[in-house]
């Protein structure tokens, strides 16, 4: 049975961190309101007896055959490297993953 849940400010700040997206402070209350509006819309599903219903899955007329699990030669690595926002020679340049700073982000978790 669905129980009514509310998204509070503290939890939303946690979610913003998880989504790797910053949210300007002036937009915070609006987004909080919209999240809770969606949740209230979903509360109505609690009137349905769905506990014994299987989660949705597609019915298939004829299952597609699978490709052989074999490596495929790809000669044109520059096609991908050229898309790199920051390329250094034959490498994608990325920031340091292990950081010395506390930042409560990915680098913090990786320590």
């Amino acid at each position: 049975m669905i129980k009514k849940m509310i998204m509070d400010k503290e939890r939303l700040r946690e979610v913003i961190g998880l989504s790797r997206i910053g949210l300007p402070e002036e937009e915070f209350d609006e987004v909080l309101g919209r999240v809770n509006a969606v949740l209230r819309m979903c509360d109505e599903m609690q009137e349905l007896e769905h506990e014994n219903v299987r989660p949705f899955e597609w019915d298939v007329k004829k299952a597609p055959s699978r490709r052989a699990d074999e490596p495929v030669k790809w000669d044109n690595r520059d096609v991908f490297l050229d898309q790199a926002p920051v390329r250094e020679g034959d490498f994608f340049r990325v920031p340091r993953i292990i950081s010395l700073e506390e930042d409560n982000g990915v680098s913090g978790e990786a320590k």
């Binding site: 939890r11 819309m41 219903v53 007329k61 898309q83 926002p85």
Partner: protein, 491 residues
């Protein structure tokens, strides 16, 4: 020769019959786009050089007496979330503004193999998240029938392009109505095939279990031919069914509704629907009755009450997960940060527009501890109940007639003023996606003010040929969509 007035079949027949060449058709259509699209803004990228090369190849094939394909020399456009080798594929977003994919989507490959000539890419709501084509980084697209109104979305550019006579076929993708609703706003036909009917390989995903590729056209015959080209099993998409497809054009060509049982949806407040759209349903029902069909009333109580909530749980939850791949590192928009976390945040915050960022946030909320079990998992069960409710209806009916949108084409800017009304519009459009059913947005006329009135035909899973046949029979009596009257620079 006014090629823009011709259907895809007429263009291809003329090229095969050497009445005109693919080059001539292409040049005329490119000229039309350049002349009229400055204001409508439906085309975001033209690939003229490649298009001329492809058209030339078709003409050479014809000259050699070879089979040039079902769509020989037919110029077309595709939504900007279809991967096209070496041609920008932006999804209407700053995030992918300079991205050039290294491969073609299967749909693009199949169109090419059938002889169709890709002219360019069309505008869309950013990452297909919207219903007005106003959230694109390329600025909004306008409705060719009335430039004070939106073309619908998210495939608004494709629908507007077909309505404007730039091409007889354009491709779109439909996650919750994104082909059918813009087709309705622009007064053309748009089809979302059954899930598993057309390969999704190479389409930038919004929600993998809901997305489906489909054609937008000005007549059902072209739509059926496009389906013959597009609906093929694909080993690159494990969700694309391997069953042997019927001839869609064969079924539509014999379009007949005599003896068919057509359900018409009731049980919703007709006062919430714009009057001309209620009239369009009534007119369509009368056409069916006059043509010898049996029409019965049907209700979908669970679907109509819970589909929107269910859709938003599934769609936003999945979208937040899908869009996690845009990290500013391997491709796409990048901003430097002092560490990995800051780079992610800065790249994603600047690369995504406001609506996309909000949907990712809401989706992330849905998938977090507590909310996932309480809301997302029940939504997957409710989704099955919706599919079961439809399956029960189609045990007794060949097709369902219902609205595709509660409103005529919106005035510009409504997305900011009243998002709730736009969300409610999803009640009619999202349910075929949730249940994997085919749906056709069928133009059955215009209001006295010139605004299009479309109805929706929904069929059972893999009943695509069946509803094309019924749509064809209705079209014979209701007439085909008309091309918008344009003046240079706009309308």
């Amino acid at each position: 020769m006014d090629f823009y007035k011709l259907s895809a079949k007429q263009i291809a027949d003329g090229i095969r019959g050497k009445k005109w060449t693919a080059e001539e058709v292409l040049s005329a259509q490119l000229e039309r786009i350049k002349k009229f699209d400055k204001k409508i803004n439906s085309v975001v990228t033209l690939c003229e050089e490649k298009a001329h090369k492809d058209a030339h190849a078709v003409d050479e094939k014809i000259a050699r007496g070879e089979d040039a394909g079902l769509l020989a020399g037919v110029p077309y456009l595709t939504k900007d979330n279809f991967c096209t080798t070496g041609i920008k594929t932006t999804c209407g977003s700053k995030m992918l503004f300079e991205w050039k994919p290294p491969y073609d989507a299967t749909a693009v490959k199949l169109m090419h193999e059938a002889g169709a000539v890709l002219m360019g890419k069309t505008n869309m709501d950013e990452f297909a998240m919207g219903s007005t084509t106003e959230s694109s980084v390329f600025a909004p697209t306008l409705n060719p029938h009335d430039i004070t109104r939106v073309p619908g979305g998210s495939s608004g550019g494709s629908a507007a392009a077909v309505a404007a006579g730039y091409c007889p076929i354009a491709l779109g993708s439909d996650t919750g109505g994104s082909i059918r609703q813009p087709a309705a706003f622009c007064g053309v036909h748009g089809m979302k095939p059954s899930y598993g009917q057309v390969s999704r390989y190479g389409i930038v995903a919004y929600v993998s279990s809901l997305d489906q590729v489909g054609p937008i056209t000005r007549n059902i015959e072209d739509m059926s031919i496009a389906m013959d080209v597009l609906a093929k099993a694909d080993r690159n998409d494990s969700t694309c069914d391997a069953y042997e497809r019927p001839s869609f054009s064969g079924c539509a060509g014999n379009g007949e509704i005599k003896g068919k049982k057509i359900a018409v949806l009731t049980g919703f407040d007709k006062n919430s629907i714009d009057k001309p759209l209620v009239d369009a349903i009534d007119r369509t029902v009368k056409i069916c009755l006059d043509a010898g069909a049996e029409v019965v009333e049907a209700q979908l109580p669970i679907t109509m009450k819970h589909a929107v909530a269910c859709y938003y749980m599934v769609a936003l939850g999945d979208a937040s997960s899908k869009l996690a791949c845009y990290d500013g590192m391997r491709y796409g928009y990048h901003e430097d940060g002092k560490n990995l976390s800051e780079m992610y945040k800065k790249s994603r915050n600047s690369g995504f527009g406001k609506e996309v960022r909000r949907r990712i946030l809401i989706g992330t909320c849905i998938l977090t501890r507590g909310y996932y079990d309480n809301y997302y998992v029940p939504a997957t069960r409710v989704r099955q109940m919706i599919a079961d409710e439809y399956a029960e209806l189609f045990k007794h009916s060949d097709a369902l007639i219902c609205p595709i949108s509660p409103a005529l084409a919106y005035k510009k800017g409504l997305v900011e003023e009243d998002p709730v009304r736009i969300y409610l519009g999803d009640a009619f459009s999202t349910t075929p996606n949730l249940a994997g059913l085919p749906g056709i947005s069928l133009n059955v006329g215009f209001t006295p003010d010139g605004l299009p009135t479309n109805v929706q035909l929904v069929g059972p899973r893999f009943g695509d040929a069946q509803i094309l046949s019924i749509a064809s029979a209705i079209e014979k009596r209701a007439g085909s969509p008309r091309i918008a009257e344009l003046t240079e620079g706009g309308c």
